[in-house]
Amino acid sequence: MANVMTANEMRRYTIRVAIYVVLGLCTIIFLTPVYLVIVTALKDPATINLASTWSLPESLYFESFNEVMVEFGPRIQNSVALVIAATAWSSIAGSLNGYVFSKWRIPGEKILFPLMLFGMFIPYQAILIPLFEFMRNVNLYGGIPGLILIHTVYGLPITTLIFRNFYVDIPDEMLEAASIDGADFWGLYRHVVFPLSIPGFVVVVIWQFTQIWNEFLFAVTMTNTDSQPITVGLAQLAGGEAVKWNLPMAGAIVAALPPLIIYIVLGRYFIRGLLAGSIKG
């Protein structure tokens, strides 16, 4: 009689099957755009038309990627330079800020910290025109150094928040013990706080890297043709009328790849950065 299911087991079994069916459908829906991007990017532009949108390529055609790399040209290097510098500066500053805000008393911190956090929620359109004026006045408009400065400053609220929430969990007793041994501000940071903050740095670096790589508003308004990052290149590639769709799709893959690789390899840390944006760590 072991093969016969009771009504209850039957019901449970049906529910399990239904759950997997729905999950499978959701997976297909979420991955449909991925399928379309890949097949289109690998098609010979001569074979791309609306009717055959969904079909697999007849033969694999990789030339689009070469063409895209030429089209993007220096924009990829611009993005790399921008992302590395801005991520490094905003992470280092964020770590110091987080250390001070969590372990030192500074006058007015109950007001200063929220005022700082507000900076990560504002629509950047609200500061765009004064920023444009400012960058022109200090002669940084239109170049990578200017863009690095912008992303460093507007990255400070989130990096400070993540590090502060991270450092709050370090027991004060550890710092007290070290300071009895004679450690000063820098000693405590170097010997107690910094060695414990490697996961914090991973979260912050990943977060800043993806945000700055993906950013478009500053990229399109604060640059000139020589200093545009990759997102602007992609928008131009796809923006014209009567585009050959193999190029924008190959471009989308190239532009998406660095953050995607990070997400797949270090997903756990990525999610922590994501959830930190809703304030509580």
Binding site: L50, G119, I129, L131, I180, F216, L217, A256, K280
Partner: protein
């Protein structure tokens, strides 16, 4: 133990960041407000990009322009678009995110893989998403021909971002009236709430407010202030306000990208519910569905509110997705974030762009400031 010298060093270490934020956030906001009350970019005698451009104070004229001028209707369209975009985008992300989170809470095999798949669009740039979905939503290809290719059905006949259909049309002139009704409804709920708690004084004030608002409606006061907009000639020029169907595709793309985020928030929330709570309900004879309805969902309420605020403020700022999917010049899909770019960086109408930017900041602040305040107050 910690010397005075170290405290000074600590302060000096955050000082550069504080000064930078002070200038780049608060200084620039002040400057944007100032610019929005000037004629920078609209005075023909002053080239906007000249080194010594003279900006004269014009009071609230730019605001008046974008709210009432016949030719400046894009801003009003963008407000209507943002309104509908926000509602459908937030509800869409909440529903999809909640469904995915609840499904993944069923001890599913391969849960990590599913989670990775549903969350990966969050790692993409809005520009990448927009480019991909623009191809997905080609009027004569993409999704539209999918039913034909899979099941031999008729292709879908819908232009997506090229559509000019308007759903839920309303008259711009009626907006204050709608808002008044909405306000009355909210206050009425509060009055009932206060009355049930026995707070008579508070509910009295609520009733007075309702009476005043009702009088305003009956007197037709809004029409007298607002109506000049709605003369027949004006209506002909101003595109009818409503939910532009061209936004539907953009909303779908945005939900595809962001619903993984709400899913992650919900999963974190569900994990935070102590198993004993669910176990106790089970012992009391609560069904599995009952457990979700009575225990899990109420525990998720604060997360739903946080998600609404985060998503809502993203939607108010949306720019790059619309830019990449519909282009910057699509009148049907215009949003305030895009208008600041067009008015400021294409037309060099810096003052008008600033006025739009300040209004954007106002709306974002209305939802973010109370949120920030409550979040940080709880913490301390």
């Amino acid at each position: 133990m910690r010397s005075r010298k170290d405290r000074v060093i600590a302060f000096l270490m955050v000082l550069p960041s504080l000064v930078a934020i002070y200038i780049f956030v608060y200084g620039f906001i002040g400057q944007a407000i100032q610019t929005s009350t000037s004629d920078w970019g609209s005075n023909p005698a002053q080239p906007p990009l000249a080194v010594n451009v003279v900006k004269s104070y014009v009071g609230l004229q730019n605001y008046e322009n974008i709210m009432t001028d016949m030719l400046e209707f894009s801003f009003r369209n963008s407000l209507a678009n943002t309104f509908f975009f926000t509602i459908f985008f937030v509800v869409g992300c909440l529903v999809v995110g909640l469904v995915l989170a609840l499904l993944l809470d069923q001890n599913v095999v391969g849960e990590g893989i599913f989670r990775t798949i549903f969350l990966f669009p969050m790692a993409l740039s809005f520009v990448v998403t927009g480019t991909i979905w623009r191809w997905m939503l080609q009027p004569n290809g993409g999704i539209n021909i999918l039913p034909q290719q899979l099941f031999g059905l008729d292709p879908i006949d819908f232009g997506w971002v090229n559509s000019r259909d308007v759903l839920f049309p309303f008259e711009w002139g009626q907006v204050p009236t709608y808002l008044t009704y909405f306000g009355i409804a909210i206050i009425a709920i509060m009055v009932v709430n206060f009355a049930m708690k026995g707070r008579w004084r508070a509910s009295q004030y609520g009733v007075i407010a309702i009476v005043i608002m009702g009088l305003v409606l009956m007197a037709g006061l809004w029409d007298k202030i607002w109506l000049p907009l709605d003369e027949a000639a004006t209506e002909a020029i101003i595109a009818p306000k409503g939910f532009n169907a061209a936004l539907i595709g953009i909303i779908i793309a945005a939900v595809w990208q962001m619903s993984g985020y709400t899913m992650a928030m919900f999963i974190a929330g569900i994990r935070g519910i102590p198993e004993e709570l669910r176990e106790a309900a089970r012992v009391d004879g609560c069904s599995e569905i009952g457990i979700y309805w009575r225990i899990v969902l109420p525990q998720l309420n604060p997360i739903i509110l946080s998600a609404m605020i985060i998503l809502g403020h993203i939607s108010l700022k949306i720019f790059d997705l619309v830019f990449a999917m519909a282009g910057p010049d699509n009148a049907q899909t215009v949003v305030p974030g895009l208008l600041v770019y067009i008015e400021g960086f294409r037309e060099n109408s810096f003052a008008r762009a600033s006025a739009i930017a300040v209004i954007m900041l106002f709306f974002v602040s209305v939802i973010i400031v109370p949120y920030l305040w409550s979040q940080l107050r709880e913490e301390v």
